[in-house]
Symmetry: D2
Subunit: 320 residues, 4 copies
């Protein structure tokens, strides 16, 4: 393969730059040219491309966000949008594309492959960690670390004021972030979209805790399960206990990538570029049982990863 | 003076523990006994006191929050509340009190002195930095650093997605945090309660920026000036530009104190204990023109520090 | 099982407190009493024990080091030393012991089991990550993150001054830390004890880089491979290029545990306590292929984990 | 003034980029052109200049190091060197120069002004904080924070192992960093070049501490006072107490600037550019008693700031 394009798509995630760097350097090392495509599929449709040499990705492994920028574009989802992209691909002689993003981006990749035959390999990059076929996606570890560090700060106030805090973390459709954050932050309860929530027994637990002098408390809630504000209001209504809320929001999405995200992103980007150099297509790289693997994109986009809800029992034991 | 009490009152602030440590060790070094009073004036009224030796404050200089805990108590504001406190003071033979908190706490200290003659010295501890007579209060520097670090992360996403973010920081009555955060984070605009806000010209500036390719932007707003959500909505209404919001909230209040807050708190606590050992009263320690000073509490509680709004012009120049 | 002891042994590692917390709360939840043993086997020999309830491990999940303290004691390696420990175990009615440490500590655990029949379960806690039978040990992830964050800072100076830096990281016998740090920090070369080092070709690479304008460079060396100072001197001798060194040292061992270390430690401590409650012995808990597993301590202490040196090739490709 | 140059010189310091940004944007705002000069006086002599617009300094306020790079060049200290620089200045029509660096750089600035009449304004940028005429120089606050954060980690190990650590911090000629780090980290002793050190009484204190159970201890030493290794050896010789050492080294020089350094650098850069725009010369901007001031460079280079060694008494009281 002589020319490889690389793009980032969907929500940004810390470690995307490390993946871009790994794709570029592996491709250059393998003798291919690389084109960086800006703003994901939007830029692909509009020819926003620039050549990237080994030096162009120096000093970015530690930066959050994505130097290629990212965007969502509804036009690309149409036949016409994909034809625009195909024309740009043809004009520039792009033979293979490394797509860093989530499952929506991978669906687009498959469509693009169908449209013009360009080889596509996906790299899972999303803080949500819900992509089928990989235990971790790029950005998740950083997001969890950021949220835990934030809750460590909140706990200072919680403990100093004997207060109950409800902290809302990201996770519109699942509780991956909430669960690991809750366990790592030592939360007294974790609410995830995957499980019904029993606020009555939670309230009973809070009251029992206060009965024996445990006045401060952290409850972690995934945004997809409920809003912090609703949970806090309900707790106060049932128990009369004063509560405070914190919505961590976008800070979870940025920041310098953690060690693990850099390591993962580097290995993913490296393997993805190797696969393209070998002329393979319609694959995603992932990590399963500690090994970097590749698997068909078709299978990846067929579903979502399920949360291991058995770990919620661990939260229960840890918060006695 | 033979026996000194120390308490933290009002909202917790990073560095309060460093101040407690400095009070305790200075007093012990000066030959006095120290009693730690828990939960501020609430604990004082209810006799929640414990003896503190030099070793009892080991390993706390780096901890956020306050190991003495803090509380607000409306009963203390009554004559009856202060009599309860006076009884506890007499019972335990407390001759002097170091009060770490804000101006509300200092008003209470003056009342307490009037009630029972206990010597009182205040140590300014509040992230708001609005206490008259001191350039800095304990916790402000940490809060500003925390907010800036958070906005650094948000900027990753802002830049990657070409997005306008409105970030709400603490500051119910003033813009101290907002202004220093805005300058340090390189914000494109800062809205503070002290100044009327001209959203129309802000919108014009945003549009002009977008016209020359500057798509991403951070606007910092003090909670007392407006809600992030209101500002974001208005910007979208006027300009059609998509916005995102982030409310930093309680993370600004906790966390390990910064170097400056530890240094300041240590010097404040040291001087406060020295003043009590000398039998002085109704004073606050502060920092003015780089020097630790003492000044009458009466003067401190007579007003609030004013923000140097001329620095808003600096934001303007920096965001061209 | 009615009474469980828990101790930390060998070098401290971030996350040990999270593991202690998980052992204590799981045991209490399972109806057992828990004794905390201070200063590892040293404290066990000298009866330095204290009862630990669920509340005694509150607020420690985020603390580095170990609240139980740790020590090395050569006496415990003697028959007499183990008899002293056995007497303390008998006196206090300790039926099971959770030992958090490395393979030396696990050898001691097996000897102790032989001496007096106490049930023992090991929890891998060492930043070195070289324990057989577990992909990760507690503290490794934090140590790698700390080192990478430090090198990010050094790179600021390296890039600003166009300088070559040689950075020495921990790893007396292996290159686990060096390899992940090198990849995550984007190092131009990594030297590990497992592989002979070819300084001549490294020098050629440095010179080639400088020829095309790449003046700054980070070389990561495991302390067991060479000293930073020796490598730097040799590079200067061969190439004439000025170098700087940095020995990261003990900062790698402390600090608040990372998300992953807290998660791992909590799961390890939980499982270890469960195993003891079930009356099992001579096991270590570990993580393999993403799952928490248990395996015979005999097998664990029979060797050391090997580094996947194939990843060094990744460093080569990434540093073109 | 129509054209202003800006350069960074000497050792890099966090916040230099914020100062560059402030100079550039203030000058552009004032209607002047700006040239960035790379690698300090070296680049000035060799014509390494590039035009800088307002956008060229976007996204750098939070970066450590200096995007303009820095260097030391002995040729510039010669008459010939300064003539080379003067020719470049003339060729490019540079009328004023903002020099970010330490007193050596300011001496060069004065010489340059004598040589060719270019207007020069200095901005104090050095982590050492020893520049006469300003209470703080850019980078000091970040360096102190970095060192304290590192020692917080070391204290985890110190406390867990009951060990004495000797930590060496930067400060070849003075104890500014050592003193603020020692106070902020809660060190038991601080050794600075300004004061003779009495190791015998330090040892007596350590032994007394151990006598009452205080086994762990942190001693901070400025590199200019002694090497950590020498101090540690002497302590062991006198007391028999086992010690560990840590040399923090270059990590103190890099990293994202703290809030205070960004704020200071922005104000300094702004004022320096204003002064140049007004046609003034041979000045340094500084902060005294909380106000940004300007003062003659001649006076600045006539000496060094003195450390307030009375604060060492504070260390004594805090470490009882």
């Amino acid at each position: 393969m002589k020319k490889i394009g690389v793009l980032t798509s969907g929500g940004d995630a810390p470690g995307m730059n490390a993946a871009v760097r790994a794709v570029v350097r592996t491709a250059v090392h393998g003798g291919a040219e690389v084109l960086g495509i800006e703003r994901g599929y939007h830029g692909l449709m509009h020819g926003q491309v620039r050549p990237m040499g080994a030096a162009s990705v120096g000093g970015i492994i530690n930066l959050g966000g994505t130097i290629l920028r990212t965007a969502r574009d509804s036009v690309f989802k149409t036949e016409e949008g994909r034809r625009m992209a195909a024309r740009v691909i043809e004009e520039h002689g792009i033979e293979g594309l490394a797509i860093i993003g989530g499952d929506g981006s991978f669906r687009g990749a498959l469509e693009l492959n169908r449209t013009c035959g360009v080889k596509v390999v996906g790299i899972p990059g999303t803080i949500d960690n819900d992509i089928l076929g990989t235990q971790y996606s790029i950005g998740f570890d950083t997001a969890v670390n950021t949220a835990i560090t934030a809750i460590d700060k909140i706990r200072d106030t919680s403990a100093s004021h004997d207060r109950v805090f409800v902290v809302e973390v990201m996770g519109r459709h699942n509780g991956f972030i909430a669960l690991e954050v809750g366990i790592g932050a030592g939360a007294e309860a974790v609410l995830v979209p995957e499980c019904g929530r029993d606020l009555v027994s939670l309230c009973r637990k809070l009251q029992a805790g206060q009965g024996r002098g445990k006045m401060s408390c952290i409850i972690v809630v995934a945004e997809g399960a409920a809003s912090a504000s609703d949970i806090a209001t309900t707790i106060t209504q049932i128990t009369g206990i004063e509560t405070r809320i914190s919505v961590l929001g976008h800070i979870q999405r940025g920041g310098n990538p953690s060690a693990r995200d850099r390591f993962l992103a580097t290995r993913f980007g490296h393997r993805a570029a190797e696969l393209l150099l070998e002329g393979r297509t319609n694959l995603m790289v992932g990590i399963e049982m500690g090994q970097v693997v590749e698997l068909p994109l078709e299978r990846v986009v067929a579903g979502r990863r399920d949360l291991d809800t058995s770990l919620l029992a661990l939260v229960e034991v840890m918060s006695i």
